[in-house]
Amino acid sequence: MARRSAIVATGQTDFVARRLDVSIAEMIREAVDRCLAQRDLDGSRVDAVVIGNMELFEGLHMPEQLMVAALGGGGRPVYKLNTGGTVGASVAVMCDHLVRSGLHDVVLGIGYEKQSEGDSQGNITTVGDPIWERSVMAGAIGNFAVMASTYVNESGVTAEQAAKVAVKARRNACLNPHAHLKKPNITVEEVLSSRMLAAPVRLLDMCPTSDGAAAALFAAEDLAPRLAPRPAWVAATATAHDQQFMGDSPRRLADMRSLQAATRTVYRAVGISDPRRDLDVAEIYEPATYAELAMYENCGFCERGKGGTLIDEGVTELGGELPVNPSGGVLSTNAVGATALVRVIEAALQVMGEAGEHQVPGARTALATGYGGNAWTEALILTSERP
């Protein structure tokens, strides 16, 4: 059995629409400093860095080479990944693999995006295939709206149920010092009367774009207990992709094949047979409210078509049977390169018992997922106990 890895320290910037006060390098440094400071560690402990962001979003090519000083300086390997919205989870998965393989003992994973410095709408079009997709794109919103329409048609989830997801997210965000959109008084009515962007998706159904960075320190099995009082053990990871073009999957949200594949792989690896019962908390990558409802089904939290019922019954609220996104989720904070790493970090904070006001009491087993491109998916299980 290969040695395990655990997350021993984490750091996040406070996500906002625009960080006018810092450069990208300073913003990354903030997250890294907070991560190391959490355990009073020196940067010299770090053997390697894995970092992810969307280069075209800020218009900087190979930015991690330019900003290597902010990452802790030259003199160690810097691995760069770019897998779209899921890159933060890809970073976490690579950190885990590198440590497990024995190549490095302590690996720092970083995800960031300073989207305010780019043209967000123009940037999203660069995700589309130039030949087949770009000329007929309608941005992320149009994309999600069409997917949501298929799901709504099949499942019968209502706008009210979607609105409840939006309310849950922005209220939970009030308990998370790092979250971007905090709305303590948000109501279902407010969501339902927010501007329609592209049916059925309204303004408050969508995630924001945020500036920010996140960092997580992974350590080898023998080191981890010495670096953190209660490490978050990486019990299982999985990655799965879908087909190539946006229109390939006929029932994009109703049948999220890559999410099913990735979650089933990690469930099997740790012996989870009933995720709703066996998981204590889930931090999933939900770009829009309808997506979260569909993800409940595709992660196996409920039967097909019952995503709406789950939110109606309060199962996924902070005090519910399986809290989903107690951090406020992507609906509250979305700096693309960081977001999936934030899911992993928030899941880690839960099983470490360090999630502060949004702590799920007694959380010991957490699921984190990432979503990018055409439903490219990562799933990780983090546990309080060494597996």
């Binding site: 075209l56 900087l60 090519h61 390997p77 779209g84 295939d129 999985a238 879908d242």
Partner: protein, 363 residues
């Protein structure tokens, strides 16, 4: 615990100045089909893939989306590194040492002809203090060539001789498009690129893809494959180009040291060394660090990047050449009796990040 991991299939697309006939998926598939055939497996057998590509080169966010299906990633893991292809090999190797995956594809693609190199590499500079000076990677290479010449005493003619040598070698490589024969004088009298570099000092812009099939030990046995073992691999990153002496190659030394240590080689020298060199002077600078005489037949038998391989793909092409050499299948390029090889690649302005793979022939 540790599985040994071998390369059991090698494939290169036809490399050319411009591959106008294919999109990225088709280009990569040329290499993938060849590698799968070499390994004797089909695409559905592949359990995971690691790819290498760059968004700025492709003009596409998540550039690897273009090759998602041809690398067999439907409901399977694919991860994508941004950097030289040897970084992708390293990650695939790391994931397989633990047995997490047992059979995989490593694929790199790049089309240097489709974007504007000057604009692309300018975007790698500091936007506040450098981009307004309109620099590109050639400028940094010019500085580096100058620093190297001063520090080493090697001449421009010595560097030009490497270009001549590389083109001759490349004409023996079936996948590379032939480059016109040149003399040292031709190189030295070609137009200035960024002093002291001349246009012919530089590798030509190229479109191409490379694919490797990698397998753990027991899969190698059950397939009856022709393996070359990945004995060790390492990546290391130096300071940004402005913050270091370009005559030094600290990151390459560290990457070499770690790769060789992981391989357990007491003697760091190999029988074949494929040096990642986009300019003639880089062969002179990097080859000795990798333990080989730049003029020896053991150095860049494929011709390397100067013979026409693109950034990102170059390192994986270097691994592919080493694999064929160690299998005794390098044809007219064969270095006799090769048992150990080193493959090298880099990326970043002034070769900031280096990647090295140490390879061993089957017993």
């Amino acid at each position: 615990m540790d599985h040994r991991v071998a390369v059991i299939g090698v494939g290169l697309s036809a490399h050319a100045r411009r591959r106008r006939d294919v999109d990225y998926a088709e280009l990569a598939l040329e290499a993938i089909d060849a590698a799968l055939a070499d390994a004797g497996i089909g695409l559905p057998d592949v359990e995971h893939a690691v790819t290498a590509s760059m968004d700025f080169l492709d003009g596409r966010t998540i550039a690897s989306m273009s090759v998602a299906e041809v690398v067999g990633s439907y409901c399977k893991p694919e991860s994508r590194v941004v950097g030289d292809g040897i970084g992708a090999l390293l990650y695939a190797w790391a994931r397989m040492r633990t047995g997490a995956y047992r059979l995989g594809l490593v694929v790199a693609h790049a089309k240097e002809s489709q974007g504007r190199p000057h604009i692309i590499s300018r975007a790698a500079f500091d936007p506040f203090t450098e981009q307004l000076l309109d620099p590109d990677e050639e400028v940094v290479a010019g500085f580096a060539a100058q620093r190297f010449a001063i520090a080493s005493g090697r001449s421009a003619a010595d560097a030009a001789a490497q270009v001549v040598r590389a083109r001759a070698a490349g004409r023996r490589h079936p996948a590379l498009e032939d480059l016109p024969e040149v003399t040292v004088d031709d190189v030295l009298s070609s137009p200035l690129l960024a002093a002291p570099l001349r246009e012919l000092d530089r590798a030509p812009l190229t479109d191409g893809a490379c694919a490797l099939v990698v397998a753990v030990d027991d899969v190698v046995r059950s397939l009856g494959a022709d393996p070359v073992w990945i004995a060790g691999s390492a990546v290391d990153t130096d300071a940004y180009w402005l913050d270091r002496d370009l005559a030094r190659v600290d990151a390459l030394e560290r990457a070499r040291d770690r790769a060789v240590a992981l391989a357990g080689w007491d003697d760091p020298r190999a029988d074949v060394v494929e040096v990642g060199a986009a300019y003639g002077y880089q062969v002179l600078q990097f080859a000795p660090v990798l333990g080989v005489d730049p003029d020896s037949p053991a150095c860049n038998p494929s011709g390397g990047r100067l013979a026409g391989t693109p950034a990102v793909v170059a390192g994986l092409d270097a691994v592919a050449e080493c694999v064929q050499q160690l299998r005794g299948r390098a044809g007219s390029r064969q270095v006799p009796g090769a048992r150990r090889a080193l493959a090298h690649g880099w990326h970043g302005l002034g070769a900031q990040t280096h990647a090295v793979a140490a390879l061993e022939a089957a017993a």
